[in-house]
Amino acid sequence: METKEVSRRNFLRVTGIAGTALCLGFYFPANAKQEELVTASGAADSEIEMNAWIRIDANGKVTLTDHRAEMGQGSYQSVPQIIAEELEVDLKDINVVFAQGDQAKYGSQITGGSSTIRGIYKKLLKLSATAREMLITAAATKWNVPGGECYAESGHVIHKPSGKKFNYGELVAVASKLPAPKEVKLKKISEYKLIRKPLQKLDTPLKTNGGAIFGLDKKLPGMLYAVVERNPRQRGKVKSFSDAAALKVPGVKHVFKVQMKVFNTIREGVAVVADSTWAAMQGRKVLHVEWDDSGFEHVNSADLFKRQEELLRKEEGLFAKKQGDPDKAIEQAAKKIDVIYQTPYQAHSAMEPLNCVAYYQSDKVEVWGPIQAPDWVQGGISTEFKIPKEKIIVNMTFLGGGFGRKAFLDYPLEAVTISKEIGKPVQVVWTREDDMTQGPFRAGISYRGQGAIENGEISALKFKMAGQNIDHWNSPKRDHANGSTTEGFLNPYFESIKNISFADVPFEMPLPNMWWRSVYASTNGFAYESFMNEMAVLAGQDQLDFRRRYLKDERCQRLIDKMEEVSGWKSRKKGDGFGVAITECFTSTVGQVVKVSRRADGKVKIDHVWAVMDCGWYVNPDIISAQVEGSIVMALGAATTHEITFKDGLTEQQNFYNYQMPRMSDMPLVEVHVMDNDADAGGVGEPGLPPFSPALTDAIFDLTGKRIRKLPFDMNAV
């Protein structure tokens, strides 16, 4: 390729490299704060690695590269919806392809922290509007008319006075040689035709006819299948194994030991490779492995929670936040409470168990799988196998759920290890049991809440948490509080409550743990918001009125108005079974009102859940509703039907028969409302989860007078 000396800021060169397509993307300079918008010709001139985010070809077809994973949260829909709006094309004319993992090209690709839209929407709007303006300019040039007489609509540029039109495809040859305009005008929210509309999702047809390719559906010619018997205590070693019986199973080709780095520990196991998934599973059944499980504690859940509780009573912990003097205020108060909340360990249990296809070749490594963080996987393979990143291709398939687990590197790295050993492409399949028993899990955390009421007002709040920290696997020594100790707790509280503190009591266990949908907010939210409800009772006040006094921020006030309005909160009577909670995470705030009642057979059932989401600027209200509905089901399961427990270091749950999921018949009526405002976009995939369990237990308290402080609990027993 011919190159010229050009300034990196100058993307306006003309070259033939773009051919007859208009490509626009961003360039992520390694040390710049702001990514820069580039056109293909500009990128070629300055030797920039560009991500072709949008490509319009000579037929007018628009191809959009989705840099994030699609795991049910809807990026496959919401990213095109943003682009179609400013680009003025029909959604059906956009073709979506998944990007490969490459941080240099795409910036961070981790689908986590509910960040897909909030991280990029402003840039996508600008990118699309830029492409539109370039197409308009190209048309005006061809017609030799002023650009102001032309406008874009439905993939065409139209000359208003004459009614002449070009479709985009006819314009790309000229447009691709134009400089990108520096400033473009973006639409106002009131001008949106697609954004904020509950449009049908583009990927539904593929997901109703078996057409969507998930990780497990990826097949390569000559590919073998592997399953791995991993140490059931996760961090034990393989002492010895015998492969004789396994190798006799028809179809089994190889049996060997594999080691896999999991954070800073090594997970060991024995891989069985065969010509079908079933044969590999049969071989594994007759494998005999002796484990060495010395050198670490074999955990029992009951002890674990007892220890957390003792720590919370004995130790002050490391302060994450402290203002005023809560201890003194509590000591002096006449009305106070001191309670413990407990939340369990949980497995992610995405419907698609972990799996990955890898092909290690001498000159390159390629993987395909349900991967939430393709750029991390690329980096991880590069580090572990000492291969330059350019030789590593990471392909994302559709993900059959992720919830955080599929942002972890162990399963792709393991697949590469196995492919390297056998010199062939391989698909490593985790059985449901592997997926459920191996972790990393959401950590079970205990909380202590102490609070005092003086003259009907909160005079002090003091929270402590004791549980494994996600970071702990990287740096086992804890000398500072978990940075997420206050996650889920609404910020405006800090402005109105004078004496308040949050502390983290270090607690170590040899159990692998990591983030799970909504991360710490998923457990913090239960403790902190349950406590707010208990404080309201102590103060003799209505839970929402009580919150209003401390959440003075205008957005919170409007959210509470909406919660009251949609749920009929004010007309309820005491004992009707209403409960409430509000939490914040990933810059979105969600309030939920839950209503329960007792059925004729004496059992308590959930009648209705009203959820109000304030996520600022948003794309598709129906996707938000779906995410909140799903979050509520996930929270319902974690609160009432499943938990991971350990006995003698072994995970006690293996499959859905002892890790029960909510079913259709458990599904309450969920109604989701989205607040309209144009503040910066917040996340939508996770923030709907944390408020559900405290609102549910509050509703049960309203109905029965019993306060539930330990999750999970049995709905049939309340």
Binding site: T208, G210, S276, Q282, G401, R432, G630, M634
Partner: protein
């Protein structure tokens, strides 16, 4: 050799007779719309029709399916236009989509046997299908919608 009739096509497969139908369909025939979720008849992701009945292919041996009529999600309709598929599309039912083949195959049997199901009928018929993404409310609504479309004479 075992003969499998899948979606109206005959295949002779060389498989261990104990191999679950699921793996034969996926690994040997390459029809990957039928999903593995639990392998233990717990989740319904692997649901297919065997002579018109919904069965869990993860616990159905190929030998039992030999010579029988098998329909997988790929064969539910020719043009993705079964009333359930249309309703699924209209109500944006799938999230990750992984469980949805199984949901649709279970729902198809329900709708054939009970063209006018109540919420309770739907709960009963669908409680064998787990959706970790929590699409239940929409699955239920879409089954009602498909039932209405079917009554109004949409082609099946």
């Amino acid at each position: 050799m075992i003969t499998l009739n899948v979606n109206g096509q005959r295949h002779n497969v060389d498989a261990d007779p104990n191999m679950p139908l699921l793996w034969a369909i996926r690994d040997i025939l390459g029809l990957t719309g039928t999903k593995y979720g639990c392998g233990a008849a717990q989740c319904g992701a692997c649901t297919v029709h065997l002579n018109g009945e919904a069965v869990r292919s993860c616990v159905t041996k190929v030998s039992r399916a030999a010579g029988q009529q098998i329909v997988t999600i790929e064969g539910l309709s020719v043009a993705n236009d079964h009333p359930l598929q249309l309703a699924w599309n209209e109500l944006n039912v799938p999230q990750c989509g992984y469980c949805q083949s199984g949901q649709l195959m279970s729902a198809a049997v329900l709708l054939r046997e009970n063209p006018n199901p109540t919420d309770q009928d739907i709960d009963d018929a669908m409680s064998g299908n787990i959706c970790r993404c929590g699409t239940y409310q929409r699955v239920r609504a879409a089954i009602h919608k498909a039932a209405a479309m079917q009554r109004e004479g949409a082609k099946i």
